[in-house]
Symmetry: C3
Subunit: 421 residues, 3 copies
C-alpha cells in the first residue's frame, strides 16, 4: 500500500489512484476521516438542548447533539440492540432518541434509558450509545472518530480562538445551509480551494476577492494584475489600522502541513467596498455579525483546517464550508451562512444577496472538480507540476501524505511521530 504513496513526487500532483480508486477512498475514510478532527457543524445549528444534527461519512453516521445540560455530545447513530439506524433526519430536536425497531430509548447523553422485556440479568449500563470525541472552538464543532484523537487540537484552539472569538459565531444563527454534491474526489475539492490560480473562472467572486492571493512578493505577478496589486496594498494598509483599533489579531499563521491538525488563518483586505462577499463589496446584512464590531469594513478573516473545512468571516456574516466524502468520485460540499441572531430575513438581509456570490462560485468550483476528476481517472494522466501560487495545494498534499504514513504506521520519521503524538 505504501508503494503508491512512495511514488508521489514533491512539487507535483498526486498519483491518480489516490484520487480514483475505491481502495484508497476506503483508506481515506479509515485513516483520515476516522482519525483526524473533522468539522461537522456550527454550534448555531444545535443552539438548544435536544437539538441535533446527523453527519454521514460513507457508511458512518454520527449524531451531534446538545444534551440536557447544554453540553455538545456526539454518538454513533446505531442502536446497541440489533444495529438499526436511530435517526434518519439531517437535523431536528428531541428529548430522547428512540429506535424505530424495538423502541430502545436513549437519552441525549447516550445512556440507554429503556429496553422492554429483557431478561432479569440485562444491564442497561452496558448498552449506552457508542460515543465520539467532540470539541468546540469558538462556535465550531469538531468530532474525532478515533479513540485517541490528535491532542494538538488544544494548541490549535489556543491559537485561533483569539482570531475567531470576537466575531461571536457561537451566538449567531444559521441564515442558510446548502448541500452541493461535487462529482470528484474530496481531495480535489480541498485542493481547488487552496489556490486562486483558477480564479479567472470566478468572475463574481473576483469583484471583491483579490486574485493576488497565493502570490508572494518575490513571485513574478502577471502584468495584468499590476493595478490590482496596488489596490490590494492600499486596502491592506488601511485595514491594518482598523484591526489594530479593535484589537483583532491579524498576523497570518500557516501551519497547514507542520502539525497533525494542520491549519491556516489570516486576515485579508477585500476589493471594492471591501465589506462583504457581494458583487459591490458592501454588506449583505445591515446588522453586524458581532455587536462588538460595528465597523462595516473589516475585510475577511479566513481559516482553513485540514482535512475538511474552511471559512470566511466578514463584518456582517460568516460562511463555513465543509467537505464530506461520499464516494471516490462524489463529495458533499456543505455551505453554512451565519448572521447575527437578532437579524431578520427580509428586513436586515436579503437571502439571495447574502448567499449569491458563494453559491455561484461553489457551482463553478464543482464544474472544475468534475473535470479534474475525470481527467485524473484517465490512465493517461501523469502528475503535473504545481506553479508558485499553488503552494497551499502542495501543503495540503504534504499534510495528507504525512498523515497517511503516520496513521497507517508506515515508516514515519521520528519527527513525524513527534508531531502526531
Amino acid at each position: 500500500m505504501c508503494t503508491v504513496i512512495d511514488t508521489r513526487i514533491v512539487g507535483q500532483s498526486l498519483p491518480g489512484q489516490l484520487y480514483v480508486d475505491q481502495k484508497w477512498f476506503d483508506v481515506d475514510l479509515d485513516e483520515i476521516f476516522a482519525k483526524q478532527w473533522i468539522f461537522v457543524a456550527a454550534e448555531a445549528e444545535i443552539a438548544e438542548p435536544g437539538d441535533y444534527v446527523t453527519v454521514e461519512f460513507g457508511a458512518r453516521s454520527v449524531i451531534v447533539t446538545r444534551d440536557n445540560l447544554g453540553n455538545v455530545r456526539a454518538h454513533h447513530n446505531v442502536c446497541r440492540h440489533r444495529g438499526a439506524r436511530l435517526i434518519t433526519q439531517a437535523n431536528g430536536s428531541t428529548g430522547t432518541i428512540v429506535c424505530s425497531y424495538h423502541s430502545w430509548t436513549y437519552g441525549t447523553d447516550g445512556r440507554l434509558m429503556y429496553a422492554e422485556a429483557q431478561a432479569p440479568d440485562f444491564d442497561k449500563r452496558c448498552f449506552s450509545l457508542r460515543s465520539v470525541a467532540v470539541r468546540t472552538i469558538a462556535g465550531l464543532v469538531f468530532i474525532c472518530l478515533a479513540d485517541d484523537p490528535p491532542t494538538d487540537i488544544d494548541d490549535v484552539a489556543r491559537i485561533v480562538e483569539p482570531y475567531l472569538a470576537p466575531h461571536k459565531l457561537a451566538e449567531a444563527k444559521v441564515a442558510k445551509q446548502t448541500d452541493l454534491v461535487e462529482n470528484g474526489n474530496w481531495k480535489l475539492a480541498m485542493e481547488n480551494n487552496r489556490e486562486c490560480y483558477h480564479c479567472g473562472g470566478h468572475p463574481e467572486l473576483l469583484n471583491v476577492f483579490f486574485p493576488t492571493w497565493g502570490y508572494s512578493d518575490s513571485d513574478a505577478i502577471p502584468d495584468r494584475l499590476t493595478a490590482v496589486v496596488e489596490r490590494y496594498r492600499r486596502a491592506t494598509a488601511e485595514l491594518t489600522d482598523t484591526w489594530t483599533r479593535f484589537g483583532l489579531p491579524y498576523r497570518r499563521i500557516a501551519q497547514l502541513d507542520s502539525r497533525p491538525t494542520g491549519f491556516h488563518i489570516e486576515r485579508e483586505a477585500m476589493d471594492l467596498a471591501g465589506e462583504s462577499f457581494t458583487l459591490d463589496g458592501t454588506t449583505a446584512c445591515t446588522r453586524p455579525l458581532s455587536d462588538d464590531l460595528p465597523d462595516r469594513r473589516l475585510g475577511r478573516l479566513s481559516m482553513h483546517l485540514q482535512p475538511n473545512m474552511w471559512l470566511h468571516v466578514t463584518s456582517d456574516h460568516a460562511v463555513l464550508f465543509s467537505v464530506i466524502p461520499i464516494r471516490p468520485d462524489e463529495t458533499l460540499v456543505r455551505t453554512t451562512w451565519l448572521v447575527n441572531a437578532a437579524a431578520v430575513e427580509g428586513v436586515d438581509y436579503d437571502l439571495d444577496r447574502l448567499t449569491g456570490v458563494w453559491e455561484i462560485t461553489n457551482q463553478q468550483d464543482a464544474d472544475l472538480v468534475r473535470l479534474a476528476h475525470r481527467g485524473i481517472a484517465d490512465p493517461a494522466y501523469v502528475p503535473g507540476p504545481y506553479g508558485p501560487s499553488e503552494f497551499q495545494v502542495e501543503a495540503f498534499i504534504n499534510w495528507y501524505v504525512t498523515r497517511l504514513r503516520v496513521n497507517l504506521g508506515l515508516d514515519a520519521t521520528p519527527d513525524q511521530i513527534a508531531k502526531s503524538a
Copy 2:
C-alpha cells in the same frame, strides 16, 4: 473465510460483514440459495400444462413449468447454444420454449426439439436444458439448485403435509401477488419476520395478531399485555376444540435449527373475530379456502421454512411469503394470496380487504429492514443481545451459521454432517 463466522457470539446478532459485504452475499447465494430447498411458487401459479413462472436469484434464473404430462419441472433459463436468456417474462403459458436468438426450440420438459442448420453429427440429445431439482409439498413448489439436494425434505414433507393438506392449497387460485423490494439484506428480512418484539410498529396487524407471540410462559410478559394474554388463552382453548373436531393437527413443531431443511409449524388463535387477517378479524372471502373446512373461525396455520419462506392459512385464504436476495442491500419479498378457485373477485371477496393488512405490514417491515441494514453497515455497529422473545431470530441465525459451515465444508461436527446427509 471462516474467521468471520467464528467471531459470531451465540445470543447476539451476526457480525456486520455477513449482512453487508458483497463477498458474503455471493457466499449466501452459492452456499445457501444454491444448496438448500428454496420456495419459488404456489402450484396454483402453474395450474395448467405449459404454465410457467421464472424466478431469479442474483444472476440465476430458473423456469418452473408444468409439462405436458402435468408434472412440475424446473430448468435453468439459459439456451444451450450461445447462452441467451430464454424467457424474460415473469410468468405465462407456452407449448414450447423458443430462444429469441437462433430459434433453438425446447419442450416444456427441457428437451431440445429443434436447432436449424447444424452439422450432420450434431446430437440434439446432448443439449437439453439443464434441469433443477423440484419438489412439491401440499401445493407449494420448492427447487434446489444443488446436484445433491438435502434429503430431509422428505421427512419435512411427511411432517407438515397433514397440517397443510386439509386447506387444499394445490386446488386454490392466486387472488393477488405483489413484489416488494426491501433495501436491506435478505437475512434481515427473515429475522424481521421471526419475532414480534417489534410488533408495536404494526398497528393494523395487531388487531388480530396476538403480540404475545414469541413470549414463553416463563418470561416476564410486559404488564401492558396482561389483558391480551387472557384473551389469547381463552381463544386458544376454544379453537383447540374446533381443530380437534375437524381432525386438524395443531401441535407446534419447531425444528428451525436442528435439521438441514429447518422449519416451524403451528396453529394459533387470532384476536377479535379470530377468522382472518382483516382489521376486525372477520373473513375477507365468503367462500372458505377449503370446501371441507367451512368453519370461519380456525385461527391461523403458520409455517416457516429456512431459508426463504413463511405462510399463514386462515379459513378463507392463504398468504405465502418468499424472500429472494437481489443485492447485499436489496431483497425481493414476494407475497401471494390464495383463495378458493371458485371464489369470484368483487363477489366473494374484495381484493383490498383481502390484502390490505399484509400490504401495509410488509411496507412497515421494509422500513425497519432498511434502518437495520443502514445501521449494521456502519463500522460503528457491534452485535447486540437478543432478548427472550427473539429466540426464533436466533434459531434462524443458528441454522444459517451451521449451514454455511456444513456447505462450505468447514470443520463441521459429525452430528452436523449426519444431519446434512
Copy 3:
C-alpha cells in the same frame, strides 16, 4: 489469469467470466483496446483544420483532430498541469485547446503554447499533450494507444485500400451519426455481427441482405432458402460483370484470425433492386457516393476489422459501425452514414429512408445482445457449440484469445509472436 483462457474449447462460445467479470473487462480495455488498432472516426467527421472528435474507452478519452497543417492527430484528453479533462464535447472545431481549470493552452498539434505565472525554469516543451498513434486508411481513422502499435496495419492498408478508395469515403460527408448503448459485453456485440444465423430476427434487413451469408456451398443450406440461393447466385454473376467493368476488386479476403490486425473484406450482391439498404433495395440517395461510380447497382462492399468495426458501402452511401466498451455489460455501438459531400438532405436523400433499415436492425441486435449477456451471466451457462454458419464468430473468438495470450505475454507460440511483431 491464463487459466480461464485455457478452459476455452475450440468450436464453442467462450467461458462466461470473459464476458461478465469486471476483471476481464479491464483486461480487454488494457490488452485489446489499448494495444490494437481501434477505429474511431471517419475522416469526414474532421474535414477541416481544427475539427475534432473525442472518443472514450472506459476512463480513457482521446482527442482526434485535424491540425493546422491538415494532418490527423490524436492526443490524450488530459491536461499536463493537474490532469483536468480538456474537451468534454463529443465533437467541434477549435483553434487551440484551452484547459478550463487554469487556462493552460495547447495547439491542435498538442504543443503547450501558454501557461500563466510559472517559475522561470518552467519549460513548456516538457508539457505537450501525450500523443496517440493515428493512421488513416481510405478515409477511416484508426488509433492505437500502445507505444508499439501492431505494424501489420501497413499490410492491411495495402490490401484494403484498392477496395475502399474508389468509393471516396475521405471526400464524403456525414449524413447522420447515432449512438446506441447495448446492454451486453462488447464481444457479444461483435459476435452478433459475425453471423446471419440469427437474421430471422431482422425482417427489414432481410429484404435486401441475402441470408445465405455465412453458409458455404458444402453446407446443407436449409430448404427454405433454396429460392434465395438461386437469386443470390444470379445477382452475383451479374454484379461480377459490373465490378470488372469499373475495375473494382471483389475477391473475398478473410484474415480475421490470422494476423494481429485481423480483417475480412468482400463484395456481395444484394436482393431485390440490389442497390442499397432500403426496404425495396433501391438507392436512398440520388447522388452516387463516388462521382466515379455512377452505376446504382453495385451490391455492397463489406469490411470488418478486429476488434471493433465493420462497414458496408453501396453505390449511394456508406454505413460505418464501431463498438466501444463502456462496462462489462454495456457497449456503445456508433453508426455513421456517409453520403456524397454534394448531396443535399431533403433533396437528394431522405434521412429516415437512408438510415431506417440499419436503425431498426441495430435495435433488434441490441435486444439479442442483452438476452445473450443475461444468460451468459447466469452461473448455469456453459459454453455451447457453434454451427457451421457461425464460423466468423469463431474466427473472432480465435483472434481474441490469441491477442490476449500474445498481449499478456502468456506462452505464445513462436508463430504467434512472429505475427504480432
